[in-house]
Amino acid sequence: MRRGAAIAAMAIALGVSGVGAYQLAPAPAEETARWREIAWPFPRDGWPAGRAFRCDGACAGAELYVRAKRGFCNCERGVADDDEVDRVADIDLISPRFTAVAPGEEVGIGAMRGRARRYDLDGPDSARLAAIGIAVSRRCDLLVAAAQGRGQAGVVQRAVLVFLEMPEMKTWVTAALDGK
């Protein structure tokens, strides 16, 4: 009886944990990355707050911050270089002291194109954190994402890009870029 109750409780708990979380479709034998929404952790600045998530599973402990930035002067050129990623990708919200570790690379989210770049951050207690900045543009507007964590940056970046391609996120991104 007690065993049955424990199984039922676990099933309920698993069900509850699935609410408000987004599970990536894993490749066979690959650990799942699950993103659980958390409160936007930063004080108000010039841009409206976005959405924040914490990863369980493959990128455990990583946090992701995503928001739309409407009104961007480079309507024609878009996110043309790594300096643009340094400027706009919200890495400075995590820490104003960051250093790019390598040149960035071109990325796409849906039809939007831009760049991603990896950084080292100064964390609390002199800890070094890895971070990823992503900026893609749609005409005169930007979608930016910043992720931080202690795991491998490559794993986190892949998990973030897959997550941002999920239908729920695409719907939200479109609405946010439309100013809704």
Binding site: R44, N74, E76, D83, D86, R87, D92, P96, L177, D178
Partner: protein
């Protein structure tokens, strides 16, 4: 009886809603909206999107040099009717000696490209005889060439400009400043190795044929090789020259604005290597603005007598900087961009003292289409208006004339919103399944001349409108009754 009251109430409501609708939408053929300002003359500027006008007296003529943004998606390179050729937007040169009948003299093509990625937005003009090593018979126009270069043209014959020199290899340009008595220019540039799109390149253009670079300048964190957060990019500087010995830099467009007060002499003669310490060396102070607002124009007005303080033992006169934000998004899609007045008398502790915006409800401007909010101010320091009146380009709310004699309490005394024409371009916002577009005036920039005429230009291709003050607004500037 009750039915009659209901009917009457319905009629009143209908009349009100019709008026409100009419105010929300401009129509071709409708008269301009105006108060204490009237239209004197018009030029269509070949239906090119316009940025900075500069009005220059050349002998007995008055010439307007008007910078343009790049073309639009629909018309990337409008046809110049004078040549019959499609030409990328550049600089319009217009003889405004008779402001009632402006004469279009020449279109000087700019960089091919659309919107902010092309054209030749900025223009400043100096006489050769005022520059230290200029040709005394020449008149020089300094202009941007899209995002890639600055150019100097000899416009002594404004209908036939001749290229003098070019400073290129840049990744962007914008609202530069040129001191005509010293030749020192503060060029808003994008040096390729800097981390920001726009910073300052200080040049000696006293001999326009032989530009001498003095230094690069910006905020620490923008310089090559730096790491971490990148401070807000530059929009434009205004210098008070060797006498005032200050340069006021405005950073930001519609967000995170900064007014930076810089010692001009230290900037020109201090250590030039772009290290954080050297970049800090000439700075006197900064006034960080709200994250909601940027600093497009930072216009200094020193020694302003403030009537309210006339009996005070100290502080009778104040040094004021008027800061104008730039609205970017259509249909009020952002925090309001407006006008701010900072008291910088104690330079190390500048303080905002007042603000001004057009009341939105006065014209339902958020519903009219296009941008609503400020963009820029006149930058002429000619005595006719200096420290008395300021003119603010307010996009779909046209131009606004402010009485600034008491900068602690600026007051609107006039306005003019031009009529739209068949050339006026649409402005769109995204909606479910596509775009929704409206056509509205987008007064982008404004300048004045020494005679007191006010020149406004339109970002949505409606051209140049030359205005004059009427009624009580003339008295504010001390102009004779019209």
């Amino acid at each position: 009886m009750f039915r009659c009251v209901l009917t009457a109430a319905g009629l009143v409501l209908f009349a009100c809603s019709t008026t409100a609708l009419a105010q929300q939408k401009q129509a071709i053929g409708a008269p301009p909206e105006a108060s204490n300002m009237k239209l004197v003359g018009v030029s269509d500027l070949q239906a090119r999107s316009a940025y900075q006008p500069t009005i220059h007296r050349q002998g007995d003529r008055w010439i307007a040099y008007i910078g343009h943004h790049g073309g639009t998606d629909d018309v990337p390179a409008p046809v110049n009717p004078m040549t019959g050729q499609a030409e990328p937007n550049g600089t319009s040169i217009v003889d405004v000696t008779d402001p009632a009948h402006p004469r279009y003299l020449r279109h000087l093509p700019g960089q091919a490209g659309k919107y902010e990625s092309g054209g030749a937005q900025m223009a400043r003009v100096c006489d050769g005889k005022s520059l230290p090593k200029g040709d005394p018979n020449a008149v020089y126009m300094l202009r941007t060439f899209g995002s890639e270069a600055h150019e100097i043209w000899n416009v002594s014959d404004p209908a036939s400009p001749v290229l003098v020199t070019r400073i290129d290899g840049l990744k962007d340009t914008h609202k530069s400043w040129w001191e005509c008595d010293t030749g020192i220019a503060f060029l808003v540039s994008g040096a390729p190795d800097w981390r920001t799109r726009r910073m300052t390149q200080v040049y000696d253009l006293g001999d326009p044929a032989h530009p001498q670079k003095i230094r690069d300048f910006g905020l620490p964190g923008q310089e090559p090789g730096s790491t971490g957060a990148v401070p807000t990019e530059l929009h434009g500087p205004i210098s008070t020259g060797p006498q005032g010995n200050r340069v006021f830099f405005g950073y930001g467009t519609n967000k995170g604005g900064i007014l930076q007060i810089v010692d001009r002499d230290k900037l020109l003669n201090g250590p030039k290597e772009p290290t954080p310490d050297n970049l800090r060396f000439p700075e006197i102070s900064r006034l960080p603005m709200s994250a909601f607002n940027g600093a497009h124009t930072t216009f200094p007005m020193f020694d302003m007598p403030v009537a309210e303080f006339a009996e005070d033992k100290d502080g009778k006169t104040r040094d004021i900087v008027m800061i104008v934000d730039e609205a970017i998004l259509n249909e009020c899609g952002e925090a309001r961009q407006m006008v701010w007045f900072a008291d910088v008398t104690t330079e190390t502790r500048p303080m905002m003292i007042s603000s001004y915006t057009v009341p939105e409800a006065s014209g339902q401007f958020c519903q009219r289409g296009g941008r609503f909010g400020s963009h820029s101010a006149n930058e002429s320091m000619a005595p006719v208006y200096y420290k008395k009146m300021a003119f603010i380009a307010f996009f779909n709310a046209g131009v606004r004339a402010l009485d600034i004699r008491d900068p602690y309490h600026p007051k609107e005394v006039g306005y003019f919103i031009p009529s739209i024409t068949s050339a006026t371009d649409k402005r769109c916002i995204p909606i479910e399944g596509g775009d929704r577009c409206k056509v509205a005036i987008q007064t982008n920039n404004v300048e004045t001349d020494d005679r007191g005429y006010v020149y406004i230009v339109d970002r949505a291709n409606t051209g140049l409108h030359i205005l004059e003050l009427t009624g009580p607004a003339r008295a504010v500037a001390g102009l004779p009754k019209s």
